[in-house]
Each structure stands twice: as C-alpha cells, then as structure tokens.
Amino acid sequence: MQVNESSKEFKPCIVAFCCNWCSYAGADLAGSNRLSYPADVKIIRVPCSCRVNPLFILRAFQRGADGVILCGCHPGDCHYTTGNYYARRRMTMLFSMLDYLGIEKERTRVEWVSAAEGAKFAATMNDFISTVQSLGENRKLRDLRCKE
C-alpha cells in the first residue's frame, strides 16, 4: 500500500477523549509546561471517562479518525469514584470486538493520566501518534458516505 511508503507524510486524525478532572487538566499542564506533541491530536472534553459511549469511538472511526484514545483518572482516583472502572470495562469489550472485526488494536487505547502528569500526557500522545502512523490510514471502518 502506498500509505505505508508515505507514512512520514501521513498525518493521522486522532481523537482524544479526556475526563475533565484528571486528563484534561493533565493536557493543560502539558501545555503550561510547553511539552510538545503533534497537532494531529484533538481533545474532546467529557466530565468523566465513563461518559464516553463506545458508539462515539465507532463514530470517530466511521468519520475518518485513524486512532482514538481515552484518558481518565488513575484507578481509585476517579472524581466520581468508580467512573473509570466502567470506562475500562466498556473499552475492553469494545477493543476486543474491534480486534475481532479486524481493526488493529493499536488504534485504540485507554490511558490513565492524572492532573499532575503533564509529561505523561505528552509522552502518551507522542507514543500513540507514532503507533498510529506506523499503522497507516484507517480504511476499514471508514464510512464512504462521510468522505468525498
């Protein structure tokens, strides 16, 4: 495939869902510390990682996202006590289903980033992007009606 040859030029579209209390604050801290990561990541703020419906992730893939990452508070630290546990379980189910459908597991990820972990946020994003870049464009789930 041509995509792999030109993977250096390939700019993936990455959607990051961040919980308001930990990961979004972690992303802000990465910004305050000027810790750089590629502009391919676009963050959507949600109150808690458990607010993320698996359908949102499927929707992102259908609309042309190449990778989706969900960030929440560390286990035990959830602002809402147990939200991240629900998120973790739901995503485990979703990811194994996506894997079964032939969507590379590496395109999806759940990470715990606290409000104090700006460096971890940036590092996680850098790592995730390079992983998605090496996989190339997401073609399998893309809904052709959505793209010209």
């Binding site: 910004g31 607010r51 006590t81 939200g83």
Partner: protein, 663 residues
C-alpha cells in the same frame, strides 16, 4: 436558527505568536450559523468581556464560542459575561487554543489549522447547547457528627461555636474516643486526659451540641443540605435525666467479672458500669449480656441502691429521625489485634501486649494505677522489647500496606516515660525505619536514644518464645548483620492501625467512597482533603487515614469550616449539567441506578397516554434527582434504550464534536 458569535483571543502573544488568530476568525465566520467572528488581544479583560457583551446584544447571538485558554481557566468568566448580556451562561463553549494548541505547537500553519478544527468543534457543539438553569435546594441548618472522639468533638465544637446546632452520635456510652485511653501525648508529654476531658465537658455542656451516646446511625437518605438520618439510641436501662452519676450502682453490682473494654480487658468491670471516671455523660449503662437481672430475673441490686430511681430495666431502644444539612464522618480507628502474628506470641503469652494495652498499664487511672506491672505475675519488668510495624507496611495478606504513622513516635514516648519512672529498666526497640516527620518529633526521638539510652535495633522480629520464665525475642540486627536473641520480661507490639469496623457500613449508607483499606477517600488528595467526594459529607480524623492528634484536630477544624460554609448558605445552587431521563424511551430496567455512584436515580410509576382502548398505561420510569446527580454520565452509556442523556454533554453534542474534528 442559531446565531453564533466566535471570539478569538490573542492572549497577548501567547496564542497570537503561533496561531494566526485572524485566519481562525475568518475560517470560523464561514461556519454554518456563525453571524459574527472577531479577534481581540485579551478576551478575559474587561474590555474584551464588554466586546462579547456588546456583540451578543447587537447581533442577538444565541450561542457564543470563545477560542482562548482552557475552560478550566476562564469558563466561569465568560459564562458570567454572557449572563450579563442576557444570554444563558450555558450557551457558551470554549475552544482551548492555548494550552492545547499554541503552547505545544511551533509550526504556525499547523497550529492555525488545529485551532480552526477546535473552533469548528466548539461551534458544532454550541448549536446543540440548551439553556440550563441550575436547580436550587434548601439547606437544613443542622450538622451531624458521627463519632465522638477528639476529631468529632473538635468539629462539633467549632460548628457549634459558629451558631449551628450539632448532633454527635457515638456508639460507646461516652464520648472521648481513643484519646481518652492514652496516657501522655508525644512530643510534649501532656497528659491526654488533662487536655481532652475539658473538651468533652465543653461539648457535653454546649447549648448547640446534642450528644447521642450509646447510639448508632441506622439509615441515611437525602442529599447535600437535606439528609434525613435515623439514629438508634440503644437502651442504657438507665434514665439519663434522673441519674446523678454517683456511681453507687457500679460499686454494688455483684457481676464484677466483665472484661473492662476501656482498660483493654486488663481488669474487670461490673455489669452496670461507667466506662471511666471522666465520662461524658457520666451515666452508667447496663451490659444486658452480663447482668444477672436480665439473665435470671433475680438481683436488681442497682435499682435498690439508686436513690434517684434512675434504673429502668424496661427501657427500650429508641429511634430518632432528624434532618441535617451536613454530615461529618469522624469514625476514627482501632488497633488490630495481632493474633494473626502467631510467631510474636500475642495470644500465647500474657506479657506480650499491644501498645494500647501498654498505654493503659502506664496510665495512673489504668488497671495498675500507673505502676508498670506485667500482666502475668504483677512484677515490674526489667527488660522490655518494643516491636514496631506489627502489621504495618507489609505485603502479605495479614499486613496493612500503609504506614500507621504514629507508632514510631508513641514507641519513643513509651520508652521515655518508662525510663523516667523506672530508670533501671532496659529498653530495646526493633524498627524498620524511624519515621519522625513533625514539629519537635525528631528531637523527641533523639532524646530517647541519646538522653535515655534506649537501644534501637534496625531489624524485624522473627519469633517470640518462652524459656526459663523469660520471653526470648529472636530478631535480626541489620546494621550488625547478625541474628540476635534478647531475653525480655515484656514485649510490646506496635500493632497497625485500621479504620473502625463500622466505617464500611456507614460508607455504604452515605455513598462515601473508601479506599482498599477502608479509609474514607477525600474529594481531592491535595486540594479538598476534608471533603468526601459525596457532596455534603466531610471527613475528620483517622477515618481518612492514620494521623496524630494535632493533625486530627487541625483536620477537624478544617472540616468544621467546610460545614459552616455549607450551612451559612440558605439555598444551594446545583450543577445543571446532570443526567436526564427521557420518560418516553425509558423502560425502567434499573441499569442506570445500578451504576450510579450517588444513588441519584429512583423509579416512579407514571401514567402515559397510549392509543387503543386502554388509553392509559402505567410504566416504571427512571427519575434523576438533580440535586444528588454529580453529572458523571455513567448512566448515559449504560442505558440500553438511550433514554438517559447528560445535559451539557449530550450524546448529540459529543457526536457533533467528533464529526467536526474528523471532517
């Protein structure tokens, strides 16, 4: 049709240096429904806010998007500005183009492109925003403190001083808690009773404080500002209002063979007893399990000797129902019984004691009247071995993973007090690490080593066994790198501290979250250390984690301030971004209630009009209590019929953001 205004902030050069703000405003103006787009140096400044207000009025804007710094920074600022212009504050969305764009990207073209995408996502979302109004609820100006130890007493006193009525619920017959059992306190060697008992009396006599001793919380319902609590006042079999506290009944009771809990079972009490001389309230209680009257129907001596006629064998448990605005958990701690540590011989040898038992042995009001006599034969011990970290800082299933925090210091205290009274006693302390962070703590520990010559041995004890009437303590000396055996007359175990057993059931009742060790978790480890994540529930003292008395008192005061802050409000403004159930879609399956961490979802039977001959159909549907819901959204994903949605972060709103980003 929406009319949306987009305001792009330069943030001086913070944004403008990497993002072409003019291009962002230009691109935004081409988005659907956008009728106005502009950029300005500082949107958060007064003139910037006025710019927004004027634009809202001039263009009749129905939604506002601000491309600026993080919403965590200025969301409230811009919402207030919108409100000033007559727009619902929740019709404002923020595109974070500083922290998540200009500050992390260097290439201007790339950063500008990303800023445009973020603005587009916010524009897409704001079109689906709905005006939200925060609900109001009344505040019951009364506070409940669960636990009557020093933490509970301090919180209650502070709240009561501010003029609010406070109820203390204590499961024991007296307030005072663990501190009442202590002898002296480190590092000043103040007598614990001398500093605590005046506080107990003060709490007992305070016009705003009601004591419910020998009582337990049975049921809690409601939410912040509006808790309803059922308290079971257990039958003392003694009339509180008639009893004068003379104590004659306790002296005459023939059943003086009950282990005295206050003295850690080291001596005996009667079936009718006052826990200790300074108890508040100083009213005895009958232990019905031990009382001859209740067992055989005979006796009745206490009733005969009581001149006040306060004994009432027929007294029954009483249930009190009361409304509260705030609840403080001050359930405190317990020391583990080191029975699982068979190698240390606690269950086998009477002269192996826990530090709390040792505390009673040292105390002038204790079973030995303050003379240090060992439990087995009543002789003064000459060689004492202290073992630290018994059950703390371990990895195995019988250990606690955490440090109990106070053991290093009270062991040094025990050593110093013992040496003070009996200078010819030899004291050895086995320790893993000496942890003495605190004001004058290390100095205190060094005094034990340097001035009193206490022998500190770095290492753990492997075995305690008896040989020739002596307790042989076998342990390792890590610094000398050798195994040693010491002959001792007494062994004192600094057993780990654990949360009180009742904490778990209270946590469930209040939906106050707990960690794996059953300590209550705080809303934020650093910034909200005395609040539980459950609104209206506050934490005071050891129930949140091991801490010493000064820390407990300061935390108790902090909890009181939070309570006062809550109770001074007449009405509480809720967070309007809460879950909402669509009755037409809900089939009452209860999935949402099961995942709700706050118990905010209840079910009601509702009548619906339906076509057909029946006309009306009754269905069970979910109802969200908006005052209790914190808006996490767990229920929205769980709902199989998509009836649940979250205001402010609805499915459609998030989907529209996804679409805008992936376009």
């Amino acid at each position: 049709m929406h009319k949306i205004g987009v305001f792009v902030c330069w943030c001086g050069s913070n944004i403008a240096a990497t993002v072409d703000v003019k291009a962002v405003a230009e691109a935004a103006s081409k988005e659907p429904c956008v009728v106005y787009a502009t950029d300005y140096q500082y949107m958060c400044s007064e003139s910037g806010q006025n710019l927004i207000i004027d634009a809202i009025k001039e263009h009749n804007l129905t939604g506002v998007v601000i491309c600026s710094c993080s919403p965590r920074m200025h969301e409230t600022t811009f919402r207030k500005a919108a409100q000033k212009a007559g727009l619902n504050p929740y019709m404002v969305e923020i595109a974070n183009i500083r922290e998540q764009c200009s500050w992390i990207h260097k290439d201007m073209a790339e950063a500008t492109a990303k800023a445009i995408v973020l603005a587009r996502a916010a524009i897409a979302k704001v079109q689906l925003n709905k005006p939200l109004i925060a609900g109001e609820s009344e505040v019951t100006k009364r506070c409940l403190v669960i636990g009557g130890g020093i933490a509970g007493i301090q919180t209650a006193l502070d709240v009561a001083e501010a003029g609010f009525p406070v109820d203390i619920v204590e499961k024991k017959p007296t307030i005072g808690g663990k501190m009442a059992q202590l002898d002296k306190t480190f590092p000043t060697l103040d007598c614990a009773a001398c500093i605590l008992t005046p506080r107990m009396v003060e709490a007992g006599a305070h016009e705003n404080i009601t004591l419910h001793t020998y009582s337990e919380v049975e049921e809690v319902s409601g939410f912040v500002g509006n808790f309803t609590v059922k308290i079971r006042k257990k039958a003392r079999k003694v009339k509180m209002d008639l009893c004068t506290g003379c104590g004659l009944c306790t002296e005459k009771c023939p059943m003086k063979k009950q282990p005295n809990e206050f003295n850690m079972g080291l001596d005996k009490r009667g079936a009718i007893y006052i826990p200790f001389a300074q108890a508040v309230p100083k009213v005895p209680v009958i232990d019905v399990e031990a009382c001859l009257k209740f067992k055989t129907g005979k006796c009745g001596i206490c009733s005969k000797v009581c001149t006040a006629g306060a004994i009432d064998y027929e007294q029954q448990d009483e249930i009190i129902e009361q409304k509260y605005g705030a609840i403080v958990l001050a359930t405190g701690f317990d020391q583990i019984k080191p029975t699982k540590f068979g190698e240390l011989g606690y269950s086998q040898y009477p002269d192996v004691v826990t530090s709390l038992e040792y505390e009673r042995l040292m105390n002038a009001a204790g079973p030995t009247k303050g003379h240090l006599l060992r439990p087995s034969d009543g002789k003064p011990p000459k060689e004492i071995v202290f073992v630290q970290c018994v059950g703390s800082r371990g990895q195995s299933c019988r250990d606690k993973s955490y440090c109990s925090k106070v053991c290093c210091m009270y062991t040094a205290k025990h050593a110093i007090l013992t040496k003070d009274h009996y200078p010819d006693t030899n004291i050895h302390v086995f320790y893993i690490d000496e942890r003495t962070p605190g004001k004058n703590f290390d100095e205190f520990y060094r005094r034990a080593v340097e001035q009193y010559g206490v022998d500190y041995i770095k290492g753990q004890v492997g075995k305690v066994y008896e040989e020739n009437g002596k307790l042989m303590v076998q342990g390792s000396d890590l610094l000398a790198n050798e195994q040693i055996t010491l002959a001792a007359d007494m062994v004192v175990l600094a057993a780990a501290i654990e949360p009180d057993k009742t904490a778990r059931s209270l946590g469930t009742m209040l939906t106050a979250s707990m960690d794996t060790n059953d300590f209550f978790t705080e809303a934020h480890a650093k910034l909200r250390p005395v609040e539980s994540p459950t609104a209206g529930v506050f934490l005071s003292g050891m129930c949140q984690g091991p801490k010493d008395i000064p820390e407990t008192v300061s935390q108790a005061g902090a909890a009181a301030v939070k309570v006062i802050g809550l109770l001074t409000k007449d009405k509480l403004l809720g967070n309007p971004c809460v879950a909402h159930s669509d009755e037409m879609l809900c089939n009452g399956c209860s999935q949402c209630a099961r995942v709700c961490p706050y118990g905010a979802i209840t079910y009601v039977d509702k009548e619906f009009r339906v076509p057909g001959p029946k006309r009306v159909e009754t269905r069970r549907v979910a109802v969200v209590n908006e005052a209790v819901c914190q808006g996490c959204g767990a229920c929205t994903v769980t709902c199989p019929s998509t009836a649940m949605d979250l205001k402010g972060f609805s499915n459609r709103q998030i989907m529209s953001e996804v679409d805008a980003i992936c376009k």
